[in-house]
Point group: C2
Chain length 246, copies 2
Amino acid sequence: MNPVIELLRRHRSIRSYTSEPVTDDMLEAIVRSAQMASTSSNVQAYSVIAVMNPDTKRALAAVTGGQRHVEQCPVLLVWCADLRRDRLACAKEGTDMVSDTMENFVVATVDVALAAQNAAVAAESLGLGIVYIGGIRNDLREVTRLLKVPELVFPVFGMCLGFPDRDSSVRPRLPVRAVLHRETYADDGQAEAIDEYDRTMRDYYIERTGGKRDTTWSKEMADKFARPVRDYLRDYLEEQGFRFDR
Amino acid sequence: MNPVIELLRRHRSIRSYTSEPVTDDMLEAIVRSAQMASTSSNVQAYSVIAVMNPDTKRALAAVTGGQRHVEQCPVLLVWCADLRRDRLACAKEGTDMVSDTMENFVVATVDVALAAQNAAVAAESLGLGIVYIGGIRNDLREVTRLLKVPELVFPVFGMCLGFPDRDSSVRPRLPVRAVLHRETYADDGQAEAIDEYDRTMRDYYIERTGGKRDTTWSKEMADKFARPVRDYLRDYLEEQGFRFDR
């Protein structure tokens, strides 16, 4: 263990912030750290929109189903997969960009996630708390309207930034053997690892809620995946100019 | 600046390794750090396959077009978007998992990227060097065969791990103003930022190659995006059980 690994291992989502602002110097240090993440063939296929305007944060909080921290955080970062700048670079050279492949969509989506995770680590190293906001995908057409998101840009998730008002607990993860395979992928032992994690998470929920929440990871997953959610996403992405035929 | 941000800002890909092994303790610390990254609604929709077998690494190096570091590194991690474990959890509860949405594909692809970037940071904090290997996507059917990758699992990228044999330079990134937008997405200034970065990268390539490589970022992007690459990917993903109709 070292201080960096200790920082990574201490991560927990923060959903309540003090009124202390995130300075512009902090924001720039965070974004510059994000930019140093690896990027596929240097395409740097991402952008980030820093939202501080209270009206915009309120409107985005509504998109997420009323998550109060989206409104309350001093800065909401909206992380976008972005092939638009690469298209500009191609145009500068007189080249029509090929943007209509699953490969390019995956490249941009991975690129933005790598950058965002570096940002999360940098922010936490500065004493800030963060939480990823997948809930912006509830209504990306509204997000697109609010943030004037143009063609070939896909807002993938938000991230609240702010100084933690109260701490929260570190949530246990799956046993490492469930996630780490050796030499080849093996289903052996997955069922037992899930059983073990179900017991861990049941204890965790019970302790955290004084017995009010009695559930397991498998029950949470069964509930989450029983119905399709956000099933307009493919149509939205096509509206933004992404294509998935090949 | 602090030591964590300094570590992030010092990142450069390492493609040549000493013979010093990556110990099992290191590997476990790295994967446990990866697991602490944020994950959408705790789905933890990823797996990682640690490949050390020389024959497998050689075969995977061939897939990447002969990248020698893929064979030479002591450990190659293959990071997979993975909805399979979530399906097992659903099955345990008697629920048929809905896995056929773009949303679930995006969730799993983002989840694995966040985890992998934490792994990269943890590895570098231990003095290891890393390089992401998008080249495994050259032929995922072969990767699937070699690593026995089952349904609902998508190997997104590899990552070489090892102690650096020689250092390499930190590659400049786009000006921060190209990537960071305020309140709304703005195209203003993108062309100028690209021009500035083209000059920076031209100087960087010339200095690094003693004048042999005279190119710009825009030229590199125009070259990269002029033709479709890996345009079998959508078909492959459907073979693995992913769907994109909604």
